[in-house]
Amino acid sequence: MLRQNWWKIVGVFLLLYTFIAGFLGEVPAKPILNETIRNLYFHVAMWMAMMVFFIISVIYSIKYLRSNNHIFDIYALEYAKAGIVFGSLGVITGSVWARYTWGAFWSNDPKQLGAVIALLIYLAYLVLRNSMTDIDKRARIGAVYNIFAFAMLFPTIWIIPRMVESLHPGGMGNPALSSDDIDSRMRIIFWPGAVPGWTLLGVWITSLRIRLSIMQEQKM
């Protein structure tokens, strides 16, 4: 599966579609946002991809705990790393977007804070793993921590920032992707194009890291 090419080609095609249609396509004209609304296909897609990777990672962590198969641990680790990369890109792109719409790179906004805390928890997962030299202990304790880190995504990113006042769309219980933020012309690019496109690219890169990691382990 990792060595098959068809899903990689589909991913590239979807990204090309996202990039081209993303700029040629029509978007609603919103005050303050103006053309930056197109960032949906990039900034928001980063977060969607991140969630996919963290979900895959925690599933492999659970599979590892149930089977002690070391390959699952490699998968869990590499997908967690992919999630951290895409999440960090989400924070950075969000920060740049905020500079021109909210007025500052950083506003201590609940969503911004929540996202950074969630990512720090995952970074601690990497530090925790590296603090242990025994391979099995590292994998087992890492897997348990991964489940905790995954669970923490929900209060930090999806629940608390959605409940309180926030500059970010979705605060105060409002829908996170409402008709203020997106319309059907954008949805047809976002959901079939941007989200699967970026996700497949991340999966491709992660699959390469996994294959490399497995090869290095076999050498030892």
Binding site: R3, L24, A29, R185
Partner: protein, 76 residues
């Protein structure tokens, strides 16, 4: 396998039809500044060209890595 890929890509290409479908143009849009100048000057194509070049560059790099790793795996 190849045929299935082409069939899938053809289906996905129908996504582009959304670009030429126009149902309604809002008159309210006139007050809010958009990059219409960039579009009428044709400069939007420069933006797209730059982004596509960057994207394809990254894709070729990743594809190259993929081939290298496949070769290493075959040697084992």
């Amino acid at each position: 396998m190849q045929k299935k890929i082409y069939a899938l890509l053809f289906l996905l290409s129908t996504l582009f039809y959304g670009l030429i479908a126009h149902a309604q143009d809002s008159a309210v849009d006139k007050k809010i500044e958009m990059a219409d100048r960039l579009r009428s000057d044709g400069k939007i194509y420069v933006v797209i060209a730059v982004l596509v070049i960057i994207l394809l560059g990254i894709i070729f790099y990743v594809a190259r890595l993929d081939r290298k790793i496949s070769r290493l795996e075959k040697e084992k």
